[in-house]
Subunit: 262 residues, 4 copies
């Protein structure tokens, strides 16, 4: 890696699971679900094209129920060379789960993806960016070696158990480097929607400043249902251009970056 500046782009392909995971009764709210369906019907194809244009390999986090419902979307993402990563099964918040349920969410989420792509994903993100006291053991038992959940660092690091580092690398995330705080609207969230240039401003303030932090990397979090609208995709195009203008930039999947963490 030497002087390279790693960039990881994590993309959540939640579809309807983002709503049913919060509250199972949302399954009857067809219009609310349609916010998620947008990801499949509209957002995914041009986002994949944009990634191709810029030579970006992204890490796609896909809930098991979404994979079950849209296996062709998973195959398409996989065929275009992106990393397929687990995002639980039903997009249910970890804090609401019993230990048994947490295990089942993790295992069945991975199973659903394996059935489609033939290999078990090694990267995982909790649907709610949360861990319980059981999570690390569950990850180790299930071959998950990359977590993208914690907010405590600008740098990748290796998790520890009883003071010894284990085979799970953390690639920390930040809320201000996600699309949701600027674009999420509907359901319970009714804050003001921001122009796409506003998100770009925050992201580039941080991207530029991160250049001066040895060992740091840039970790962007996208949701296909939010970023996949045409005006926001144009902004992402400008943002990717900006990222690539920095000569040290090296865009990697989560798995690729984690592999370099000692």
């Amino acid at each position: 890696m030497s002087d390279a500046f790693p960039v990881v782009i994590g993309t959540c392909l939640d579809a309807e699971a983002i709503w049913t995971g919060r509250d199972a009764s949302n399954a009857d709210r067809r219009v609310m679900l349609s916010h998620g369906t947008f990801a499949i019907k509209e957002g995914l194809a041009p986002l994949l094209d944009l990634f191709d244009t810029h030579g970006v390999k992204s890490t796609f986090f896909i809930p098991g129920t979404t994979a079950d419902r849209y296996p062709d979307a998973v195959r398409l993402v996989h065929a275009r060379g992106h990393e397929i990563a687990s995002h639980g099964h039903g997009h249910r918040p970890t804090a609401h789960l019993s230990p048994q349920e947490e295990k089942q969410e993790l295992v069945t989420g991975i199973d659903s993806l394996e059935k489609i792509i033939g290999t078990r994903p090694v990267t995982w993100r909790s649907p709610s960016w949360d861990w319980s006291e059981h999570t690390l053991d569950l990850l180790l038992e299930n071959g998950v070696t990359v977590s993208t959940n914690f907010h405590d660092s600008l740098r990748p690091y290796r998790h520890e158990r009883h003071g010894k580092s284990v085979d799970v690398v953390e690639l920390p995330v930040q809320w201000h480097l996600a699309d949701a705080p600027y674009f999420m609207y509907g359901g319970q969230a009714e804050r003001t929607i921001r122009p796409a240039v506003d998100a770009q401003k925050v992201w580039e303030e941080e991207f530029d400043a991160l250049q001066d932090c040895p060992g740091a990397f840039y970790h962007l979090t996208l949701h296909v249902q939010l970023i996949g609208h045409p005006g926001r995709l144009k902004m992402l195009d400008r943002h990717l251009r900006h990222i690539k203008e920095q000569p040290r930039t090296k865009i990697l999947t989560a798995q690729e970056l984690a592999a370099s963490v000692t």
Copy 2:
């Protein structure tokens, strides 16, 4: 339609029903209701003039109770050549209704408008942008052929029942292409009010980018009580100018665009 880029402007003329539909006890809150009354007393006339200036035919969604109370407003909108569309009767959220109530809301809402304009509207929008499992049947039974409720596509499409397309066309909407997320304030909503130029920025980011999406259309959602303030109308004037500068632009009512969907 060929190379034309369709633009549909849906305008909600809710008046007081937006408050009483949420909570019947708001009927006693005279000042809260006055936010809605603004649409009738102030917002409607200059908005209609602005539409005339730009040759815009809009689709007006009017709740039955509002039509009952302000039949002259309905006549005026109709006489100026805009499409009159149904918006339920009492502006009550679909998710709060029994199947029987949902039917009654739809039927009486249409009846109220027919009494005034002499024809039954064919376009309908749920007051809460929501559908139940009964909605499609109710629309088919009541001659509604255009729905503007779902958020899943940039393109018009035909609804299906048991895998077969039926005579209801969907013209999908988007929250970021509405005025409410930037201007709604009072009642339960107390987020920051934005300058009108901020909404214009979001709308034009999206309008410009939609030009590159074959089959897509631009669907703007307005509320007379929000957009009908003088500074915001000036912004809408600039926005309509921008829309019309694009040579492919063809401004249509919801019914007109739906008629071209095969």
Copy 3:
């Protein structure tokens, strides 16, 4: 009035009452109350100076409990030539009051001001911008001839009872022409604080556009505890300059403008 464009600046001098009116138990929360105390200790003097610099006579809405506690502040505002107007007694929301309580709030609020300035105020604003079904009668019985509560018009108008106009003029207000949506923070409100230039942008979008609306007036709503911070007062200085650059501008108190309404 002829060709003049009337401007009314209503200023709420709430002090601690804004917190105790919401919840009496806030009386024990000394730091929360200190947000209100700022109005008396810091905000009022430079605001009065700024009004003098621009020759502005404002209408000050002062709750009775605030007047009881700070009679010198009331005398000062009065001596500088501003209108003293009633804002209830304990800044309690109308919707939470019994008819008897509503009457008492109105009467004792007026009494408190009369004790200090020797005359009974004729202008009144509900602390919550709300009216009950009893309010109009109460206003008529208590010599209130000017209300600044409704949101339904850009123009002053006369209230009606049983279809006949009565001796209460309404000077309607708008939330986007207040300072609170941009600056209010703390207590229950925790939305994003905006730069002062952002509020100025919204206000001037509307001020400029109102010039083209015959019969309309510009009605700005300020709170001493919010606008009275130095950076925001600089913005108000710029805004008042902008208002006065318009040659038709005529700045009036609420009572003065209401007197011209037939």
Copy 4:
């Protein structure tokens, strides 16, 4: 002090205590806690370097539980010449505490810091910017001579008991001169995140205008977990440059400024 314009920069080093203080059950939510851990792992070192670059001595407010957990961080801040100030023990809101608990929070918070730096801090900030009716007595009994909690003034002042000034100086704070309203996200707070330049705009509107207020000072409130992100630190760098361009600027700790208050 004469013509100098005092600037005080109060920095909260809360770490995980900000979450466990709100709700003890958050101790199990490892990812939520990681928002706080960021302060220790990432934010503190570059913030201290930036302060050194500008010759800034800040006042650091550190909860006792954070000091117990990260004594080296306290030693580092102290060794770099900043004031160590108390911020309670468990970052628990004053309004939720019994008188006995309030006393214990204050005393044990101070004890924790004394154990590390060898002296008892004299400056204190409530974790919730709140005082009970017992607070002043508790401060006097425990040698706290500087409070930074109230919002009622632009100027330092001395607290009073029974009408007589006592040995506790208040250095008032303002929410709009803090970082939290623009950057706080996660947990219960889910308002829109703002670009760093937006906070800088508000801060400099106020800093510049305060120059004209005799006796006033500029009091900035930072949280290491929020301001310690690279893009925001670049903004703070620009802001400190702006502060120092004003020739009257004199940057002081809270204790230093309070010592000059008669």
